[in-house]
């Protein structure tokens, strides 16, 4: 399967925040446990809504929860290269 470019610290945060089980987390954000498994193993990129729900559960920002696996490559590929008028 295609490797996703975005990783997450879901599993680590789950343990840091009182060992929330996958089932409980799934229940809290309204998805199936299988989706949490797919997220943790990096085979599914969530919608913005789900990402924000997860950030609320772990009381952190979406940025802290999800990250580019190769930030430098992402900058090269997606950073705005036009003229800025600020």
């Amino acid at each position: 399967m295609t490797e996703l470019l975005i990783g997450n610290c879901l599993r680590r945060l789950r343990f840091m925040r009182g060992e929330i089980t996958q089932a409980k987390l799934a229940d809290m954000v309204g998805v199936t446990r299988q989706t949490i498994v797919a997220l943790e193993t990096g085979r599914y990129a969530p919608s913005l809504e789900l990402a924000m729900k997860l950030a609320v559960v772990f009381d952190c920002s979406v940025d802290e929860l999800f990250f580019w696996k190769d930030a430098e490559q992402a900058k090269t590929d997606y950073q705005f290269k036009g003229k800025s008028y600020e």
């Binding site: 399967m1 089980t21 996958q22 089932a23 309204g30 998805v31 199936t32 446990r33 299988q34 989706t35 498994v37 797919a38 193993t41 085979r43 599914y44 969530p46 919608s47 809504e49 789900l50």
Partner: protein, 207 residues
């Protein structure tokens, strides 16, 4: 190829075999297919309960539904395909075999299987919706493609074959085409789900 798709091919072969058996036996084989389907549902449910307790790789509610529907449709598809491949099998009811009654019996078994497979909670989340959308797109493309091919085939068919294609036969072929497109849809969904449940990623449910 995922095991679940191979299982669908086996179900098609089984459905086909049932229709062939009905040539030689004046027996409504739909009961055999229906009971086999219900038996498989009960076995699969038990196996998934074991997986839930061990690896945590049991399929979720929406995936289970796809699997049950897929196997039922595969059985029906194989059963109806045999009717076209072997002219000895009469599509009509009461003329030597029970093909139509068998199909309806298996549809009834699918309904029973669907009731048996119901879980208390069966939420469909965004991943299920995305997977369903991919399956539906593939199924729709398959439906249109097969219908175009079938229509062209009818248009260029040599006149001597025209009597074979009565309205009744054409109607039945269209039903089989719909079943084929559903099979494509379910196969794509099963492939997508399989990508998320590779044994290498197994983990206990309480982790």
């Amino acid at each position: 190829m995922p095991k679940s798709v191979l299982f669908l091919l086996c179900a098609i072969a089984f459905g086909c075999g049932l229709a062939l058996i009905s040539i030689y036996m004046a027996f409504p084989v739909g009961w055999v297919g229906g009971l086999a389907l219900i038996g498989w549902v009960l076995i699969a449910k038990r196996r998934w309960e074991d997986l839930q307790a061990t690896t945590g790789l049991e399929p979720g509610g929406p995936e289970r539904k796809v699997r049950f529907d897929a196997v039922g449709i595969a059985l029906l598809f194989g059963h109806s395909m045999a009717g076209y491949a072997f002219p000895e099998i009469d599509l009509h009811v009461g003329k030597g075999n029970f093909l139509a009654i068998d199909s309806w019996t298996m549809i009834a078994a699918m309904l029973v299987a669907s009731l048996l497979s119901r879980q208390g909670k069966n939420i469909q989340d965004e991943r299920d919706v995305a997977i369903k959308a991919r399956g539906t797109k593939a199924g729709y493309l398959a439906l249109i493609s097969i219908l175009v091919i079938f229509s062209l085939a009818l248009a260029i068919l040599p006149p001597k074959y025209i009597p074979t294609f009565s309205y009744f036969v054409i109607g039945n072929i269209q039903i089989t085409v719909i079943l084929a497109s559903l099979l494509v849809k379910f196969s794509i969904q099963l492939i997508e789900y399989t990508k998320d449940t590779e044994p290498a990623y197994a983990m206990g449910p309480d982790e």
